[in-house]
């Protein structure tokens, strides 16, 4: 039940009440309406982690790249040794 998955925000509907801010989010082809009240900074095109109908965190592309780069560096070291 805690499964939370990344999806891309396709559109945002601004409501008068900030509790009702919502948007359409694409999970690899499956599109669902998600409450976006907890990610007021998220914009169309951003990726967000969605859990139980709510986006709980916007994904940071620069941080994602940084970790993958560090891991790629480990691979290079392994290649050099072998």
């Amino acid at each position: 039940m805690c499964l939370a998955v990344p999806g891309q925000i396709l559109s945002i509907e601004q409501a008068d009440d900030p509790l009702l801010r919502s948007g359409r989010v694409d999970f690899g082809g499956v599109v669902k309406v998600v409450n976006l009240a907890y990610v007021p900074e998220a914009e169309v095109g951003d990726y967000a982690i969605v859990h139980a109908g709510f986006a709980i965190s916007r994904l940071d592309e620069a941080e994602a790249r940084a970790v993958l780069k560090e891991i790629a560096a480990l691979e290079d070291i392994a290649d050099e040794i072998s």
Partner: protein
Amino acid sequence: MKYLDEYRDAASVKALADAIAGRQTRPWTLMEVCGGQTHSIVKHGLDRLLPPSLSLIHGPGCPVCVTPETIIDQALELAARPDVIFCSFGDMLRVPGSQHDLLTVKARGGDVRMVYSPLDALNLARENPERQVVFFAVGFETTAPTTAMAVLQAQRFGVRNFSLLVAHVRVPPAVETLLSAPDNRVNGLLAAGHVCAVMGYTEYEPIAARFRAPIVVTGFEPLDILSGVLNCVEQLEEGRAEVENRYGRAVTREGNRPAQALMDQVFEPVTLSWRGLDAIADSGLGLRPEFAEFDAVRRFELSAPGTASAGPCRSGDVLTGRLKPFECPAFGTACTPEHPLGATMVSSEGACAAYYRYRRDAA
């Protein structure tokens, strides 16, 4: 898909596993706190890529699994009422109470419905004004803000036929309890990434310092988990015990402030008994007095929960890392996902279910 496939790359998995083996000079035991991580570890066989002297043990990381039998019994009582539509996440439907489970109540005519979001339950209440709609609010700090929002919306829009049976749990007090146990053998922890997405990780800083145990915020994909393990091993080998974040794409130190604010507005910490862990101070969330009208226990004047019976299930030992699922005598014989004896076999994130599904040959 973006943010998933890149974190499953086989060559990178191998490089990380090699790096861990290269860093480790002594045996260490790490605990992953979250059932989603347990599932990923067992599914991808990550533990088998690690040196044998590095053990991963599974913590109490599934809110379905730790919900006490006594609260399940309250759920069964509510779900059997003819005036009630009882809503729950799917995992809860098959968790046994002292007599039976929610599916049994449904089969006997109870109106039990599965929902994906507390907002779905709120919508049911709006669509069925003549019925009472009760949402079974379970989950860690990842889920609590979603429940808080449903309560606030119900209040704002005057939805009077909506209430909650609350069994939300908080992770840090449970982690503290585990680390304080006299027989604790956990050297370092992988903290649950999505709980931290909401809460940040400042709560873990005093815990890491007090127990001299590194705590690493970790995601759910194979590379996330191995990179969390590598960081934990590096810290242990260097004699450090800090909180570090290996899930920076989703987690910041302060977490999700708007979600925390709404959670605080609606809930306050309360003492709760966890299945397998007994009562832990401040480890549950209860509705604040201002929201008492949404408390199903009050609304339906439910009797106080009784005491739990001691059955054959050893999930308490599984949830505290004392027992591997296949070491339980009932595993795979008397207890299977079709006929579960305990919550850890029911929930898709329970450790027993993960081993049953991916690792039946390990016994």
